[in-house]
């Protein structure tokens, strides 16, 4: 459980609060999306979820423990954070070692390490690069390496900052698949993203941030109906939501994926003949 209470935050040397009066509870088994304009405070917020940043005012508790009371390493075992920029996360000489690094640090046994690394390599299509230097990977491959490294140690909370950057369609589908799988294991996945089409397929609890303030917290569908808030947060609509709005009341529900939209349209077009 992550509990945030009256969190205010400003960076040192700066006068303005970047986060203002954030109150939030995120439990196990949830999938949560966080969206908002550039510079609205998303990355700053999630850096509080493993103690990397500490509140200027207010508190953040992880499984009941105040983030001021323990080290980042302590919280990291429970909360895995995958940064937007892979460059900030990659240190090892080979792809294999990169994934094994944290596992070793957390003191897992050799056998488990080998198993986990193998699984992660395969899942993220990286097996062929296991002995390659991470620096030579393409942009999308680097990003997948970071995902693989964090998922390998199996934290309860997985926080992904812009996970779809550099990912093609198949990789995105895979990502959705893995997030759904993690949820069935009662893990929590928090996704920060600008990719409205991706978020729509995920159908998460959606939190919108504008200017350091949470302006909306609700289920995905209701959020994408709130035009005023979308405007304020610089969000556009997923195409399927747009389609629903254009065709309403001919179709009465928002289709959550292509398959559903297809059968709605088919019914509509066939029904008329």
């Amino acid at each position: 459980m992550i509990e945030v209470e009256s969190l205010y935050f400003k960076y040192p040397l700066s006068n303005d609060y970047v986060l203002k009066d954030i109150n939030l509870k995120i439990g196990l088994g949830e999938v949560v999306g966080i969206m908002g304009g550039n510079g609205s405070g998303k990355t700053t917020l999630i850096k509080h979820f493993n103690g990397l940043l500490k509140p200027t005012k207010g508190t953040v508790k992880i499984f009941g423990k105040d983030t001021r009371e323990e080290s980042v390493a302590y919280f990291s075992k429970k909360v895995g954070l995958v940064f937007q920029n892979p460059g900030h996360q990659i240190f090892s000489d080979t792809v294999w070692n990169e994934i094994a690094f944290a596992l070793k640090n957390f003191g897992f046994e050799e056998e488990i390490i080998n198993k986990r690394v193998k699984w992660a390599l395969e899942f993220f299509n990286l097996t062929q690069y296991k002995d390659t230097s991470p620096l030579l990977l393409s942009g999308g491959e680097k990003k997948r390496l970071c995902l693989a490294s964090v998922l390998a140690w199996n934290p309860d909370f997985i926080i992904l900052d812009e996970p779809t950057v550099g990912q093609d369609f198949l990789q995105k589908e895979k990502l959705i698949e893995i997030i759904k799988m993690l949820i069935t294991q009662n893990k929590t996945v928090i996704v920060v993203s600008h990719d409205v089409e991706f978020i729509w397929l995920l159908q998460p609890r959606l939190i919108l941030i504008s200017n350091g303030v949470i302006v909306k917290d609700g289920d995905c569908k209701s959020v994408f109906k709130d035009n005023a808030i979308l405007e304020k947060c610089g969000l556009t609509k997923p195409q399927l939501v747009e389609l629903y709005e254009e065709l309403y009341p001919l179709i009465e529900q928002m289709p959550v994926d292509i398959v559903e939209a297809h059968s709605m349209l088919l019914k509509l077009l066939r029904g008329s003949k």
Binding site: G36, G37, H194, E197, L235, T236, P238, E242, H262, L265
Partner: protein, 284 residues
């Protein structure tokens, strides 16, 4: 005889990075005409960024490897030009903005390139104001790069390249970190620059829904080979695109799926409004 000027041309071109055994680009033959707006897509790791590096000269001048065939940019062989010369013609926005921002403030970063090519102060000011405004970063003008959010960095990187007013603009996933509104506005700006000034643009982008309204051509790369190239409107309706990791936008996927059910559309509707209008028309 050609009527339009070919501004970029690959002839029987192959490349592999030194140390790697497999070629990353294989037998590429390609010509891009002045004023084209090209969308370059394909699965992660297929060689998109590598192809772009061959246009701006990072390959072969900074990356070593086996270089076969020719790459010609604006009438000259890339391998005979140095990277700095090329940079005045070819503006390049990197996949990762942090590879691009070096100076102590946003303003200095943008101005740096302009001073380097010896522009007058007055012109520099005009261009600076233009790009700060176009990317919505006036308020960040005096900020150091390490105080910027990721999307703000990407905006600055783009601004720096636009200010140079290159003849060819190459962008490697330029909107990946921009919020949706900003991404849309920026793509529309690219469309305008392309139409008004005939700027040649090549964009790598996985979120292709953003680009279907502005790009006219598309190239699909797979395992280092070109598998499709041509007019976007033609190629986008090819169902096999999925096999190459290209996520066609939902509105187009729907048209493709309906076509399988013998519901045929004479035209490809690239945006939802037009598609919905057509659906409604059929119901009358």
């Amino acid at each position: 005889m050609e009527t339009l000027a070919e501004i970029i041309k690959f002839i029987n071109f192959s490349f592999s990075y030194s140390g790697s055994t497999t070629p990353i680009l294989k037998n590429i033959n390609l010509s891009i005409e002045e004023g084209d707006f090209v969308l370059l897509v394909g699965p992660s790791g297929c060689g998109k960024s590598t192809l772009l590096r061959c246009i701006n000269g990072l390959i072969p001048h900074l990356y070593n490897g086996a270089y076969e065939g020719e790459v010609i940019v604006d009438g000259e062989l890339v391998k005979n030009k140095n990277v700095n010369e090329l940079a005045t013609k070819v503006g390049f926005v990197f996949q990762n903005p942090e590879n691009q921002i070096f100076m102590f403030s946003v303003e200095k970063d943008i101005v740096f390139g302009l001073e380097n090519i010896g522009l007058e102060r007055n012109e520099i000011d005009i261009r600076l104001k233009w790009v700060l405004h176009a990317l919505g970063i006036e308020h960040l003008r005096y900020k150091p790069p390490y105080e910027l959010s990721d999307g703000q960095k990407q905006r600055v990187a783009i601004a720096g390249v636009l200010a140079m007013k290159p003849k060819i603009l190459i962008l490697d996933e330029p909107t990946s970190l921009l919020d949706p509104r900003t991404a849309l506005d920026f793509i529309l700006l690219l469309g305008e620059l392309n139409k008004k000034f005939g700027l040649t643009i090549i964009v790598v982008e996985h979120r292709i829904d953003l680009l279907t309204n502005v790009a006219n051509k598309i190239i699909v790369l797979d395992k280092g080979e070109i598998v499709f190239k041509g007019l976007l409107k033609e190629i986008i309706k090819n169902k096999n695109l999925n096999l190459y990791g290209v996520g066609v936008p939902p509105v187009i996927a729907l048209q493709n799926n309906l076509r399988d059910e013998d519901i045929i559309f004479d035209e490809v509707y690239l945006n939802v409004k037009d598609f919905a209008k057509e659906i409604k028309r059929r119901l009358i």
